[in-house]
Every structure is written in structure tokens, then in C-alpha cells.
């Protein structure tokens, strides 16, 4: 029966049965209890619901669950439990890249995708990558400082 979707979520296989047009976002938050992925707008503008689908950053509010069948999904919970998270998370906090936190999981997901393809992105590359993650608190400057500190390996003053 095709109204069942089976996918790998943060490394383990999960099965969803129900409306195949259910938003991946709702499946993650409600069926899977993974509330680190946030809904900010529900139309793919704010990026708060960003997840990695087959390694590509996407808005989970715009992915019907039927399309992740047989695919690999990584959420903030999965990313935060691996070895690469610590340094990025720490530097985001330390450099003022985190204020209210509502955009933060999505920002982390996008930055992980960016760093995967470019371990030392320029400021311009970070700005372009983050254009789909709206932040209303930081003015983005703290996030940019954090990535610069991470890839430059420098302690800020």
C-alpha cells in the first residue's frame, strides 16, 4: 500500500502511515516527536524547518512525506548528535549567532550543508547560503562572525 512511507530518519528506519501529502515537517514534529525543526511560515520562506534530504538542505514544510520514501532525512536532532556539531554549536553561541533561537536549528542545518561542500566558505558564500534562513534577531552579523571564527579557527576578542 503506497500510503505508507518508509525512510531513514537520523540513521534509523521509520515508517509513516497516513496522508501521503502530509508535510514532512508535521511528520517530524508530531509523529516522530522531533520538535527541534520549527515552523516559522509554512511556505518555504523562513527556513526554520530546514532539514537535510539526501544531504540537500530543504524546507520540510514543502516536502510531502510520500517523496521521502526510501530516502535519508537528517534533522537538527540527528546532526546535533554527531561529532561535527559541537564546534559549530559552540561558536554560534560564543559569537552571538544565537538569540531567540527560533531560526537557529534551521541555520545550523544550512551551515552544515554548506560546510560539507565548502569547509572554508567566504563571507559572501555564507551570506548566499543563508539567504533562505530568516533571522529577525541578530542582523546575521553574529552568525557570520561565528562561521568566520570556525573556519578561521580564531578566538574572537
Amino acid at each position: 500500500m503506497s500510503e505508507r512511507s518508509t525512510f531513514r530518519l537520523n540513521g534509523r528506519e521509520v515508517v509513516y502511515e497516513g496522508d501521503p501529502l502530509a508535510r514532512l515537517l508535521d511528520v517530524l514534529r508530531e509523529a516522530q516527536g522531533l520538535t527541534g525543526t520549527k515552523e516559522g511560515c509554512g511556505e518555504g520562506e523562513c527556513g526554520s524547518c530546514s532539514v537535510l534530504l539526501e544531504g540537500a538542505v530543504v524546507c520540510s514544510c514543502l516536502v510531502p512525506v510520500l517523496q521521502v520514501d526510501g530516502r535519508e532525512v537528517l534533522t537538527i536532532e540527528g546532526l546535533a548528535s554527531d561529532g561535527a556539531h559541537g564546534a559549530l554549536g559552540e561558536v554560534l553561541v560564543r559569537e552571538g549567532g544565537v538569540q531567540c533561537g527560533a531560526c537557529t536549528p534551521g541555520v545550523v542545518v544550512t551551515l552544515r550543508a554548506l560546510l560539507e561542500r565548502d569547509p572554508a566558505p567566504s563571507r559572501a558564500a555564507v551570506r548566499e547560503a543563508l539567504a533562505g534562513n530568516l533571522c529577525r534577531c541578530t542582523g546575521y552579523e553574529g552568525i557570520l562572525r561565528a562561521v568566520a571564527a570556525l573556519v578561521g579557527g580564531e578566538e574572537s576578542a
Binding site: 501521503p20 518555504g44 540537500a56 524546507c59 514543502l62 516536502v63 520514501d69 539567504a131
Partner: protein, 291 residues
């Protein structure tokens, strides 16, 4: 509840879509669809996922054409070596569609089928003379992009018909082109006006001029009066001004949530004019360098 189908070959997908009783609708990147689904509770009897169809994937060169799969995403388009080399204005347009998250999902075929007058890639397809390869369970046909968007949000697609490939002529060595999107902000913006221009400029005069604009009419629009003005002209200030006037005269933009009719008409003229002038300047510079 909606039934979901995830065919892995085109024939199977077309068969499903041909089944009137099934009432299936095709879906791809879903970047517009799921917004409206949330807004209006869209719930068709069945959906057919197109993202697993190899026939709709990939960019390849076939003779004097670049052949782009309808399910190629804008992220793939903007990064594709063939597109960047031969169709730089298509790569440029792809880079302005939404932000990274949307570019990873939205497809060229989806932009076509969705048929928004603001679709960023559509004026480029018009300017580059794209031809669409369409298919139903009964067979294939080819339709020029110019004949595809019939009216506001209406296309030439028949019931059960899919866009399979988009075929674009490889431009001649003396080809010139330009793309400009005037959006609501620097990124992740919907266009207020979007313009694409392609021509041959050998010998100091413009030939085979194709100029198209989006968000200025119910469908993406070829600016044929402006093309006629430019055809056979040198890309100089006189031609630029004449093309600008002709472009402005050919559109009926509206006031809407993103912009005003007056601004749209003005900025269309400014953009067309600048595109022509820049082609002229580039030719002059090239001539100087060569001479």
C-alpha cells in the same frame, strides 16, 4: 485519503495519469504546491511523484541542442557545466529562484507547469527559443515555449500530459544575452519584473533578437515590438531608447502586492534599454581589444 504513486519509469507515470478514474495529479518539487495545499487543503484523489523518473533527469548535449530534464532542479541547473558554458542566462536565472532550500527542490518543469507570470526561468526560455518535449500515454509531441503559456496560469498541457524535457539551441558564437530580475529584496524574492534578452551581434548589428519579460502581463511575454526595433540595428543609444519605448508600450502591468503598474512599466523600459547599451559597450570593448 489521497493515494500516492511513485513510478520509476515514464511509461508507468503516463499510464497512471491517463487513468481518468484514478484522478491522479503529477507532483515534483512541490515548492508552490504545498504552499497552496496548506492554504486551501488541496486533496486530490491520487498523486504521481515525478522525482523518480530517470527520463526527466539530467542535462545533456544532443547535437546543437542542450537537453534539460523537466525534473532538473534549479540548484542543478545553476551548477551544470553545460548550462553555465552555453546558456549562462539560464544559470543566472536559476540562481535567483528562491533561496538554496527552494533551489534544491524546485524544478524547471515545475516552473513551466505552474505557469506563474512571475516564473523566473520563463522569460529566459522564451529568449533562448526553448522547445518543450511533452508526453502522454498516447505519444509525444514538441511545442515551442512561445506556444505553451496560453493565458493567466493556463498552459497547452493536455489532460494526463507531462513535460519531459526542455530543449534549448546552443547559441551561435556571436550570441549575446542578458538576464535581470527586479525582485522584492536581494534574495528569496518574487519578481516585480524579470527580463531576458538574447541575440546575435556579429558585424555590429543585432540579429535574431529575442526579448521576453515576466510579471508585466498575465503570461510571460515576448516583447516583439521591441525585438523588431532592434533587429538589424546597431546596439546604440538610439536603438536602446526605441526598444525601451516599444517594450513599455507592449505591456499592461498591474498594481499588486509586490509593486505598482507605473514602476513596473518604467523599470521594464530602463532594463531593456540598459541591456541593449551593455551589449553595445561589450561589442565596442571587444572591437577595441581586437583592433
Amino acid at each position: 485519503m489521497t493515494r500516492a504513486f511513485r513510478p520509476t519509469d515514464l511509461a508507468e507515470a503516463l499510464r497512471l495519469l491517463a487513468d481518468v478514474d484514478l484522478g491522479a495529479r503529477p507532483i515534483a518539487g512541490c515548492t508552490d504546491l504545498l504552499v497552496s495545499k496548506t492554504a486551501v487543503g488541496w486533496s486530490p484523489a491520487a498523486v504521481v511523484d515525478l522525482l523518480r523518473l530517470e527520463e526527466l533527469r539530467g542535462v545533456r548535449r544532443e547535437g546543437e541542442r542542450i537537453d534539460v530534464g523537466a525534473a532538473v532542479t534549479f540548484a542543478e541547473l545553476r551548477a551544470d557545466p553545460l548550462v553555465r558554458q552555453h546558456l549562462p542566462i539560464l544559470a543566472e536565472a536559476a540562481a535567483t529562484v528562491g533561496a538554496w532550500q527552494v533551489q534544491n527542490r524546485a524544478t524547471l518543469g515545475g516552473n513551466l507547469a505552474n505557469a506563474s507570470p512571475a516564473g523566473d526561468s520563463l522569460p529566459v526560455l522564451a529568449a533562448l527559443g526553448a522547445e518543450l518535449q511533452l508526453a502522454t500515454a498516447d505519444g509525444e509531441r514538441r511545442v515551442a515555449y512561445d506556444d505553451f503559456h496560453l493565458a493567466y496560469r493556463r498552459t497547452a498541457l493536455l489532460p494526463g500530459e507531462l513535460i519531459v524535457r526542455v530543449r534549448l539551441p546552443v547559441p551561435a558564437p556571436d550570441a549575446v544575452g542578458a538576464f535581470k530580475k527586479v525582485g522584492t529584496r536581494a534574495a528569496s524574492a518574487i519578481s516585480k519584473v524579470v527580463v531576458a534578452f538574447a541575440a546575435r551581434a556579429g558585424g555590429g548589428v543585432l540579429r535574431e533578437v529575442r526579448l521576453a519579460a515576466g510579471s508585466v502581463a498575465p503570461t510571460p511575454l515576448r516583447l516583439r515590438a521591441a525585438e523588431r526595433v532592434l533587429e538589424g540595428s546597431a546596439p546604440d543609444a538610439t536603438a536602446a531608447d526605441a526598444a525601451s519605448s516599444a517594450a513599455r508600450g507592449a505591456v499592461q502591468p498591474i498594481d499588486d502586492v509586490r509593486s505598482t503598474a507605473a514602476y513596473r512599466e518604467w523599470v521594464l523600459g530602463r532594463v531593456v534599454r540598459r541591456m541593449v547599451l551593455e551589449v553595445g559597450e561589450a561589442r565596442t570593448r571587444a572591437g577595441t581589444a581586437a583592433g
